[in-house]
């Protein structure tokens, strides 16, 4: 028992900070309805700011903490409140992708500013012994971590109960309109809650940084711990969120003690919060989880149809261009082959996200399963290349089905969290087993095809093989959209309730679409591995899944369903090979920004805004020039109103 005490102390100290981050997340989620995936990004940004002010400029740490928390938190809150307001009422997929975009944007900025290398972040708090518990020295830093967490929790709890603004915050969760009618602006109240929430994130970031180092990835992953804490509080209760943070800190610390010497189980400690999250979401009835501000229903607005012949001409031109690529690009051909393999992956994401309104934050894991299976089937079991490819894709489909079946009651932000957790679990635990990559750092081998005139050494021949698979996949997706299944999938996005009333099981439909999507993702993973000839687990990490989704959605904002997969692959894989300035960090920044802009412009909001501006200009003109009143514009509007009809 005594040997556990140091682990408990470490667990409680870090758990207190997880709880702190979780409190901020719950507060902003409940008051605005927007679940902020970028919460950990804010923590990372604040830690980076502290690093600069304290270590680079040499300011004393209390002053640096004032800047990084007291100044940065409110500023971030003031910036996020309008963003959240702009997103409210969008489709849930749009909201999730937008906040992930924000996370990527912040990470990209931090990588630009601080470099990719993890930097040491020395403990700035005194590490002298504060007290001894059962002979274990507890440092002042640890005491302070716990004290800050407890004080923030108690302070927030009393604030929400005692102060008028706090009571208004609780009121705005269910009744923002009524709050406005009682002369309190919900916007002001939400602004205050974003300021508090962001400050909590900032505080936890600064305090946890000495443990994690200055690493935007690791620090952003603080949000993962916060997710677990928030899940224990069932996304609503502040006391349980804080206690949940403590519990996760202690559990992860104990897991480290018992599992660190036992691969692959040594991957479990970092995923403890997600195991907790998934268990909580599976045992909690869906109606007990609060609803966000997003619409759960409503498919992507359809784009205006082009002239059919223009479409055919476009397809012919694109196909010609793709066929001519090997003659045109010279030594860059492997880049294009890799991009083509990604097209299949992006088609698979589009099928899930854009057609069926589902969210997956674990597509890199699907691709990894396909890649490993392909390697094991061909190199290991000696199956012919094409058979191995198909078998790898088929082997991935059940993984998708299993995930959809397990998470069958979750949708929107909860589905996003569950799939992200699944991805993290795969990456940290399953990747390390012999079934997948094992412990070999160099990765697995994937062979090139060799049949008939196709020589395994020829990049050109292989390019055409991939192109053929891409063409088949695209044809499959296009055909699928036109069949009954395609309509059912669109209905799944439109209104799951309506689908259920027609006697079609929503769960079965979701299992189906996840299987299909996993099948294509597995195919893409296998192709990528054959194209690279050797790939390691690092290629398929969980944050890559986020980037994939964001790229697909960003490309989808400017191009059609199938086209967007090509556009996304081009932006993601081809552009950086021409512009060396386009690093992955810059990509993450640009795509993050693009996807936020796309989300704000989605659902015809830009058009509505333009309409409102026009109406306003009209009104101004109306008031200044009475002669316009009976002008032709007014008549036209009157006619339009008559045709629209009246709905009381």
């Amino acid at each position: 028992m005594r040997e556990l005490v140091p682990y408990l102390v470490v667990g409680l100290a870090s758990g207190s900070l997880y709880g702190l981050a979780g409190l901020g997340l719950v507060l902003t989620y409940r008051t605005s309805g927007i679940f902020n995936f970028a919460h950990g990004g804010l923590a990372a940004a604040s830690a980076a700011l502290f690093f600069t002010v304290h270590f680079t400029w040499g300011w004393p740490w209390p002053l640096a903490a004032t800047v990084a928390v007291g100044l940065f938190g409110p500023v971030a809150g003031l910036l996020l409140e309008p963003l959240a307001r702009g997103l409210a009422g969008s489709r849930q997929v749009t909201i999730v992708v937008a906040t992930i975009g924000l996370l990527l944007l912040i990470q990209g900025l931090l990588f630009q500013g601080y470099g990719l290398q993890r930097r040491a972040f020395p403990e700035f708090l005194p590490t002298s012994t504060a007290i001894r518990i059962a002979g274990v020295a507890v440092t002042w830093a640890q005491v302070l971590n716990i004290a800050v967490g407890v004080a923030s929790f108690v302070g927030l709890y009393l604030f929400l109960r005692r102060s008028r603004l706090g009571v208004a915050m609780r009121a705005t969760v269910t009744s923002p309109d009524l709050l406005a009618l009682t002369a309190t602006s919900p916007r002001h109240v939400r602004r205050a809650s974003w300021i508090i929430g962001c400050s909590f994130a900032a505080g936890s970031g600064v305090l946890i940084a000495p443990t994690l180092g200055l690493d935007p990835f690791l620090l952003s992953a603080l949000v993962v711990q916060a997710f677990g804490a928030v899940a224990i509080g069932r996304f609503t209760s502040l006391p349980f969120t804080y206690l949940g943070g403590l519990a996760i800190g202690v559990l992860a610390s104990l897991a480290t003690k018992y599992l660190s010497a036992r691969p692959p189980l040594n991957g479990i400690p970092p995923v403890v919060p997600f195991l907790v999250l998934i268990v909580v979401m599976l045992v909690t009835p869906a109606q007990r989880l609060p609803r966000g501000a997003g619409r759960s229903e409503g498919s992507e607005p359809s784009r205006p149809r082009r002239h059919p012949r223009a479409g055919t001409a476009g397809v012919v031109m694109a196909a010609t261009a793709l066929l001519a690529v090997p003659r045109l690009v010279g030594p860059r051909l492997p880049v294009y082959s890799a991009a083509l393999a990604l097209v299949v992956l992006f088609l698979s994401i589009s099928l899930l996200t854009r057609l069926s309104g589902q969210i997956s934050l674990c597509h890199a894991a699907f691709a990894a399963v396909g890649a490993c299976a392909f390697s094991h089937f061909t190199v290991g079991a000696g199956l012919p290349w094409a058979v191995g490819l198909l078998a790898a894709a088929l082997a991935t489909a059940p993984v998708g089905a299993l995930l959809a079946f397990t998470a069958s009651r979750l949708s929107g932000v909860y589905l996003a969290l569950a799939t992200f957790g699944f991805g993290l679990f795969m990456e940290n635990v399953v990747y390390r087993t012999g079934v997948m990559f094992g412990t070999r750092v160099e990765g697995l081998l994937g062979p090139r095809p060799s049949f008939g005139p196709i020589h395994p050494r020829s990049d050109t021949a292989f390019y055409y093989v991939i192109l053929a698979v891409v063409a088949l996949s695209a044809a499959f997706v296009v055909a699928l959209r036109r069949t009954r299944i395609g309509r059912i999938l669109r209905a799944l996005a439109d209104s799951p309730t309506a689908l259920a009333t027609l006697g079609i099981s929503v769960s079965v439909t979701r299992v189906l679409v996840f299987s299909l999507s996993a099948f294509l993702a597995g195919l893409a993973g296998a192709l990528s591995m054959a194209q690279a000839t050797r790939l390691g687990a690092i290629t398929f990490n969980s944050f890559t899944s986020l980037l994939y989704l964001v790229v697909v959605v960003a490309a989808g904002a400017v191009s059609g369903f199938v086209t967007s997969a090509f556009v996304a692959a081009g932006l993601f894989a081809v552009v950086p090979s021409y512009l060396t300035a386009v690093t992955p960090e810059l990509q993450s920044l640009v795509f993050g920004a693009a996807v936020i802009a796309a989300a704000l412009a989605a659902d015809g909001r830009l058009a509505r805004l333009a309409g409102r501006c026009a109406a306003w200009a009209d009104r101004v003109a109306d008031q200044s020039e009475p002669r316009l009143r009976n002008g032709p514009l007014r008549e036209r509007r009157a006619t339009a109103e008559r045709t629209v009809g009246v709905h009381g």
């Binding site: 709050l179 009618l181 009381g648």
Partner: protein, 237 residues
């Protein structure tokens, strides 16, 4: 004097109200009647700022307040009690009353509320959602009793309540009127509303089809003509 002037409003592309004008002098009750889907609730939403009209103005004592927004209008004295969701369900009665009153004058607001509905005194620590519909409605109506309310917009306040409670609410309404307040009443009990009203507006398919004295509506024929089909008015009473 509260005036809705030539208001056209709707949701998205659908126009619900066309060119609606309506005036309520102080110390008077105006009843707003009309069949389902006529736009009564929409009109109240425009009057309290929850919905921006696409054209037209809201005037409070001759001052244009259209662009104040719901919280600004509420501060200016417009009190809208919406149908069905007029209390904060997860807050206690005391917390509800705290938000209803103006900041800094919470004690005063509490006294005024308890004076209007003494029955609430024993329920101050109860969570609003756990009270009965009638009790919740009383809690909602305390807002109309608080000082500073100059225009009170009531949407179906007596819906689903026991007759004895409806009596209480109408007594309360009479008291509110005494205090220099303009009341706009949307009501399902037509006869009840006509008995208390000084003015009547009938809304049909988004337009005002009758505006005038309740006495003019005493004749059932006229009443039917303005409301629409005869059968509908049966369903009304």
């Amino acid at each position: 004097m509260f005036t809705v002037e030539a208001v056209t409003a709707g949701y998205g592309g659908a126009v619900v109200l066309r060119d609606v004008t309506l005036t309520i002098p102080p110390r008077s009750v105006a009843a707003l009647l009309g069949p389902n889907g006529a736009g009564k609730t929409t009109l109240l939403r425009v009057a309290s700022g929850l919905l921006r009209p696409s054209r037209g103005r809201i005037l409070l004592d001759g001052v244009d307040v259209t662009h104040l927004g719901p919280d600004g209008l509420a501060q200016a004295g417009v009190c809208h009690v919406p149908e069905g969701q007029a209390v904060f369900p997860e807050l206690t009665v005391r917390e509800n009353l705290r938000l209803f009153g103006p900041p800094g004058r919470e004690r005063e607001a509490l006294d005024q509320a308890l004076e209007a509905f003494p029955a609430l005194a024993g329920r101050l620590s109860q969570v609003a959602a756990t009270m009965s519909g009638g009790e919740q409605q009383m809690l909602a109506l305390t807002r109309a009793a608080m000082a500073g309310a100059r225009v009170v917009l009531l949407d179906e306040v007596s819906m689903g309540l026991a007759p004895v409670l409806v009596d209480r609410i109408y007594e309360f309404l009479d008291r509110v009127r005494q205090a220099e307040v303009s009341v706009l009443l949307v009501e399902q009990y037509v006869t009840r509303a006509l008995a208390v009203a000084d003015y009547v507006y009938i809304l049909r398919r988004g337009r005002v089809t009758f505006a005038g004295d309740p006495a003019e509506l005493a004749d059932d024929d006229i009443f039917d003509r303005y409301l629409g089909v005869g059968a509908e008015s049966e369903a009304f009473v």
